[in-house]
Symmetry: C2
């Protein structure tokens, strides 16, 4: 098959208009501002899935859902013996999140189908538009719920995890949205295929370099404490001498600074790591200006492309806690439950395949690391050939100001369209 | 007048039973546990005042209230030309506070009157049981509201301060409890007299020394930032490199550790100081495990017996903030409004007078500093001869476990009763 006529403005216009329309329709669905809030397994997430289902049906795709509510819309390829190419992302958001995380990847997948239709191209393998559920782990303390469910890798006990805002279990929320966690647990894994995900970078690398998109070679894994605590001793702020205080805020500050120094050390030794204390709560009704704080809650997120570095950072954390507890009598840390997501190496063959499409467009996207976890990590962990395309973004991510130029996304979609038009697509 | 018969068990029993009864009745009034919660200018505070009014009337005292709702119950002395001795404390609590802060001082004052009645002793000067309103500054950002109102020193703009939980103004809350802030503003200051306050120590000094009570020679003043903020930049926890982060939690931890070191330095130079970050809030709906925190709220309480030390600590705070803002681009601190209470030197004559009563009982209470602010500081600032008697306590203060032995309080009451029985009483 020869190269697609990429100068064809009808195809380019289709890509751009599809992206714009999907983003507009999906982002009309939110609990309210600032930013966008569509909790995992909420009515709003289901409504967003329905938007994509209607778009997929309009393009003549064959639509199905699995027992966890993941949406699949299939465009048949020319060779049914080839493993299909699944392409998509998720539509849930963090609380007060941005306009592009997840939804841009779904828009790109739909734009690819629309472009193939517009160009009257049938890809070699089946192309399966994929919309997962519940990718944002702020709602349930479980990583990649929807994609791991699709892959037959969600554990029965994970169905009992409770949503942070409602306190209800994942199984309850699945049922409330019309899905069947019991059937899900009985279903076997699908045959491994291929997975492609477009996503904003969620970091400053492409923006600082002035590059519209890049290809992801690995995804950092995470080691997390979502409900850690420091216990100290309540006392009067003016009456308790410095000696003998067990101040939970000071003990926590000690840990934060120690872990920041430890992080600097890991980076200096060439290890990949991020350290984030994203949430700190010493603001209960028991806390007051005139009281030495006797308690503080926090969460800690460690990420690395290397499991050994995560283990070493966790050991450093425990060493620092022991040091602080020894130095500050009356202080006790309780890290609570640990949760993890595994780092993922993406497929060299698929990286080269996307790079080939980009080259046909005259682009040379860099290979880069993903700091955020993504559904592609779950597919890679299940043995699928997986790849991600990162889109330049700015103003942070997981926040209302999260920025992206849809033209950058369209350019990346055209690169993959060129790859799909090759003999290996 | 000769010494009272302190071996008289009827007087001792009266003191103990009055203390127990007042504490039991007042502590039956609370918004619910853990601990005790009676907000300033709440219905519960008014009900607690009504308990004391009934007790005072039962003892035949002449009861009045001022326009701010402070309660005064007068036992006429033998010499109306002498300045009266006002004696009491407050009945509001912090949120989830203890069983003794404030209420023990009111119970002691009532026990003194009951003991004088039981012993058929008329003091030299009028004795005025005093129950102030709104001493705990966690509710309104104003120090010593009731006592300063009684002294004609509350400012019109302070009536516009809003209660932390309701958002309504102090003037509104006064009116809702049946008092008259407009008339209060028109009233002049009373003639300076004398003030005595019993209070738990709110610190470990007496407990560690094994001493039941002490006499306070000075009260620390405070310099406070109740609504300070750190602004940073929201980002993705896994996507944002360490370089370029503006992490509000790390910047705050830097400040906490710096101020803790600065505090150590002040103490090493012999300066009196406490430093407390009592409340920290990075737990809004925008905060999440997977986000670099872009914002954090906190409050800071500095206390010292020496205004110059408070000023120096405030300068150290501002120096550290400048250093942190320079070292961490994107970080901005906003300290918000500052509030202050002045340190107070208590009356050497009244200290000696209480010590004289204690000596007659065979006690030698230490002279000590008060870390907490108290109504006595407001009376001292208004030019009243003032003194405090501290009662040993444990398990902290301003917290549900706050401990005190009523027998220690009774012993201190007997010491003051002995002082009242002297020629200078």
């Amino acid at each position: 098959m020869t190269d697609l006529p990429l100068a064809d403005t009808a195809v380019s216009r289709t890509i751009r208009s599809t992206i714009e329309r999907v983003l507009t329709k999906v982002n009309a669905l939110s609990l309210g501002g600032p930013g966008w809030t569509r909790p995992s397994y909420s009515d709003l997430e289901s409504q967003a899935h329905a938007v994509i289902e209607a778009e997929a049906r309009a393009l003549g795709l064959e639509v199905s859902r699995d027992h966890a509510g993941n949406l699949f819309a299939r465009l048949a390829g020319r060779n049914p013996a080839l493993p299909p190419l699944f392409c998509g992302s998720h539509l849930d958001t963090v609380s007060e999140g941005g306009a592009y995380d997840g939804q841009a990847g779904v828009a790109a997948a739909l734009a690819l189908v629309a472009a193939l239709r517009e160009a009257r191209v049938t890809p070699e393998a089946d192309f399966v538009l994929t919309v997962t559920r519940a990718e944002e782990s702020v709602w349930f303390p479980v990583s990649y719920i929807g994609s791991r469910a699709a892959l037959g890798r969600l554990l029965p006990e994970e169905l009992q995890a409770r949503r942070a805002d409602t306190g209800r279990t994942l199984a309850d929320h699945m049922r409330a949205q019309g899905f069947d966690p019991d059937a899900l647990m009985r279903a076997g894994p699908p045959a491994p295929a291929r997975f492609l995900e477009f996503h904003i970078e969620q970091g400053p690398v492409l923006d600082r370099a002035g590059e519209p998109y890049g290809i992801v070679s690995a995804i950092r894994g995470g080691l997390r404490y979502r409900a850690a605590q420091v216990q100290g001793a309540w006392a009067h702020s003016g009456g308790a001498p410095r000696e003998g205080r067990a101040d939970a805020v000071v003990a926590f500050a000690d840990l934060v600074m120690a872990m920041d120094r430890a992080w600097e050390g890991f980076l200096a030794r060439g290890s990949d790591l991020t350290v984030t204390f994203g949430r700190v709560d010493a603001a209960s009704s028991a806390h007051a200006m005139a009281k030495v704080p006797g308690q503080l809650g926090f969460c800690l997120d460690l990420r690395s492309e290397d499991v050994a570095v995560l283990e070493a950072a966790d050991l450093a954390l425990r060493d620092e806690i022991r040091r602080i507890e020894r130095a500050r009598p009356g202080i006790r840390f309780d890290l609570g439950n640990q949760s993890r997501s595994q780092p993922a190496r993406l497929s060299p063959a698929m990286i080269d395949w996307v790079a080939g499409g980009a080259a046909r467009r005259g682009d040379r996207p860099r290979r880069m690391l993903s700091g955020g976890g993504h559904d592609a990590a779950a597919f890679a962990a299940a043995g699928w050939e997986s790849v991600m395309v990162f889109i330049r973004n700015w103003n942070g991510s997981h926040c209302p100001d999260e920025g992206m130029d849809p033209a950058d996304l369209a350019r990346a979609v055209e690169a993959v369209l060129a790859a799909l038009s090759g003999n290996d697509g």
